[in-house]
Symmetry: C2
Subunit: 482 residues, 2 copies
């Protein structure tokens, strides 16, 4: 078996076993490794750099919308969880507890934060006195822990990295406006930066955040048809304000509770972009988030090697100066064919090949990882051609993901129809829903699919509940989800 | 009492009580707040942004020297600590333990990481097989926890933020080279970016990192004469490689243990820069790390207000475009004098005043926070003048701190001389040391001062031990330390 062939066959094809494909790819591309702690992974440099790129761009967008970062303690006293009833019920089963420290048992045990509404609520009650202190617009980048029974690297791990925004406002209108603003920041980021199309909408009451009045989400479709909730934004009303006594003196000199929001995205985004864009050859990273955007590979016989590498280095510097994330692989003991496969597997958006013939003609070859398209370009136009191609790759990847979603999105009228459909096909289902938790539960029990959200812009409106046949209050997206 | 007067008097003078001054300043400038968890603080946006600026610049320097970031689990299994004897003895008393999670007791309890040599050693043993895999150059930005008995915001907190570099090399020479390279990265960063002069040197055996062969540090002098260890770099030899079985096949096809290093700096740096540069008026932030470098304050009577603010906005945009971190305070219900005091207290390096007279003359007033110097400049030369002044402020702050250190650095010959000195004066003491742990211990017991390091370039060489009078093996810096 040739090396090249062997290389590819180490990845299980998606059609054979999607879960194995996923694990094969993230291990082989060195994005992560399992750790000796149950459900916790190690983010290796290739994987962590994806997160760094996500962080940098998202942080920029948070700051542009007026937010500042802060950092709150990892530990949350047990009593804090008792203050908001729904919240404690939602998170209690997943908490790890510190019970001893410094060689002694603790008087009050401390949870490792699963999210920070309670701690931040406590602090806000100290900081907020008057309407002049509002709004408070704070974000935190942090690790959080939820002791999960079933884990999957990036998508569901016991410890994960995330950001959590927490804001406080004078009234409901402003808090709701913030909730929707951040949902839109998420939608735009995920579509524009990760090339993942998402469905924005509202969670049903049974799927909302523990302690929220309303939860909104963006939902993405993976290549196996399952959903990933890629980000959520919550209007918390005065629930946490009442629980933590966050009051302010309003413009009429009256004490009022603030209205709060919270919103979060996490390292799940890494898992999502792998499952949306990857294929049987491995990762395919959207250009804006890819740690390496262009990999340069010198080719040709040993006698021209030195000259070719010299020119490659010049072109490297040119691209680097232009702000392109570029690398050269000039290892001499590895064949170009092997390298081609390696960087396809690692999902580098553009491969640049340069050989002696290209040198003579003042040209270079650009190959797109996503489409396989090959372009012969003039070296003198390298920077413009690379930037154009990166843009096109982003657009094509986004459109392809959108088309895939359209192809795997089906409207149904009845639960039987939905069951029949999901037996044959993967994907999302659009259906009418009367609004009762019982009907929603029945869908879940009989199909394994949960309500993802009530989309703001459904493809069509359904008028009767798929379960009971009564008048539909909402048109809902259902899917099996990660 | 005028508002201005009242403002300043809320800060305890340094000469009266340095510790109270410190707490007054960091609370009043809203850098931090106490949290409900013992020894853990909240980094408020004004404080956290200092850390973000430190992170961004240090991260750039790590990447320039070939390092990449990764992320390892927060939890460390109990058995891992047993593998390196000195390490477990050093850290065991400070560990918090998770003993239950997900509603059940854990089979093996998990420590919250105090540092990650053990976890990373375990992973490196999986990743490193051959000399081709070396060197491994990884850094991690993370939260760590050490359950401290006595805490002080930023300088010693139970949970703190830091970076920890962990590298593995083929041999001792390369690992030692890396150890010194990173010490120099720290020295240059702290002096060049934070304007804090430091003493580089080697820790004595009793003060080195638990598990290291050699520890090197940079030591800074606070304004009360105490030392802060601002960064450490460790050559770990094969200690962790043996403990975690990190072996590689060398160029001669023989199994060898790798040689590892680790190096760290933390949010202590925030505390240090406050204690080095602050004064009775509050914070004084060095320009490169200051969240706001220029605060613009419009002045003059109400009737010219609109015109002045219009011009301030134009100048604001100009500075912003030039990359200066600038803000405008155009609140109309607060007097300019009050604002002057506020931003002096907050340590903003330059105040720009603009009034109707300045408008007429096409000029503006720049005032340095550190020196109080006032400059009238042409608006047409604003950008260049601001950049020049920021550079000068940095240089002056650094020189001033150096002078302070020189003024409070005394060489002694005997322990009695040292005791007499420290009764009258604050500061660092330079003395000869025979190399015995007993003499070092006696210094600590009788003076409260610990050996800070054996400086690479001592101001002078001492030839007899300050305690026993025997031949001095080293000239050592002693000081009381945070």
């Amino acid at each position: 078996m040739s090396k090249e062939k062997q290389f590819v066959t180490e990845i299980t094809p998606q059609g054979e076993d999607f879960s194995r494909w996923y694990i094969d790819v993230i291990k082989k591309a060195e994005l992560m490794d399992y750790s000796p702690v149950r459900g916790c992974i190690v983010f290796r440099p290739e994987g962590f750099e994806i997160w760094e790129n996500i962080q940098r761009e998202m942080d920029r967008r948070f700051k542009e919308t007026g937010h500042r970062n802060a950092y709150f303690p990892l530990f949350i006293p047990e009593s804090f969880f008792q203050k908001e009833k729904e919240h404690v019920e939602g998170f209690n089963p997943e908490l790890p507890w510190v019970t001893e420290a410094g060689g002694e048992p603790l008087e009050e045990k401390l949870a490792i934060r699963p999210t920070s509404e309670t701690m931040i609520g406590h602090m806000y009650s100290k900081w907020i006195q008057s309407y002049r202190d509002l709004p408070v617009l704070i974000n935190q980048w942090a690790n959080v822990v939820r002791w999960e029974k079933r884990t999957l690297p990036f998508l569901r791990t016991s410890e994960f990295l995330w950001q959590e925004g927490h804001t406080a406002h004078e009234n409901e209108a402003e808090a709701r406006e913030e909730t929707m603003r951040m949902l839109e920041v998420y939608r735009d980021f995920v579509e524009d930066f990760l090339a993942i199309p998402v469905i924005t909408g509202q969670k049903t009451p049974s799927e909302k955040f523990a302690g929220a009045v309303d939860t909104y989400s963006i939902e993405a479709m993976m290549k196996d048809g399952r959903a990933v909730q890629a980000g959520t934004s919550h209007y918390l009303g005065t629930n946490f304000a009442v629980a933590f006594d966050i009051k302010y003196l309003d413009r009429e000199n009256t004490q009022q509770f603030v209205h709060t929001t919270s919103w979060g995205t996490s390292t799940r985004l890494i898992g999502s972009l792998i499952m949306v864009h990857g294929d049987d050859r491995g990762l395919a990273l959207p250009p804006k988030v890819a740690p390496t955007q262009v990999i340069m590979i010198p080719i040709g016989p040993p006698k021209t090697r030195e000259a070719v590498i010299g020119r490659v280095d010049e072109l490297y510097k040119e691209l680097k100066t232009a702000g392109v994330r570029v690398r050269v692989d000039d290892r001499s003991d590895i064949s170009p064919g092997w390298k081609f496969n390696e960087y396809e597997m690692r999902g580098v958006p553009i491969r640049l090949e340069l050989g002696p013939r290209d040198m003579e003609n003042g040209q270079a070859v650009l190959v797109s990882r996503a489409s396989g398209e090959k372009r012969i370009i003039k070296q003198s136009e390298l920077e413009a051609e690379v930037e154009k191609m990166l843009e096109e790759i982003h657009r094509d990847m986004f459109e392809k993901a959108k088309q895939f979603r359209a192809d795997n999105f089906h409207a149904v009228d009845t639960l039987d129809e939905m069951k029949g459909l999901l037996e044959q096909k993967r994907g999302f289902v659009l259906a009418g829903w009367c609004g009762s938790a019982a009907c929603e539960k029945q869908v879940k029990e009989e199909t394994g699919a949960t309500s993802r959200n009530i989309p703001f812009e459904p493809a069509e409106h359904k008028h009767s509940c798929l379960v009971c046949g009564e008048k539909a209050e909402h048109t809902v997206v259902f899917a099996r989800a990660y």
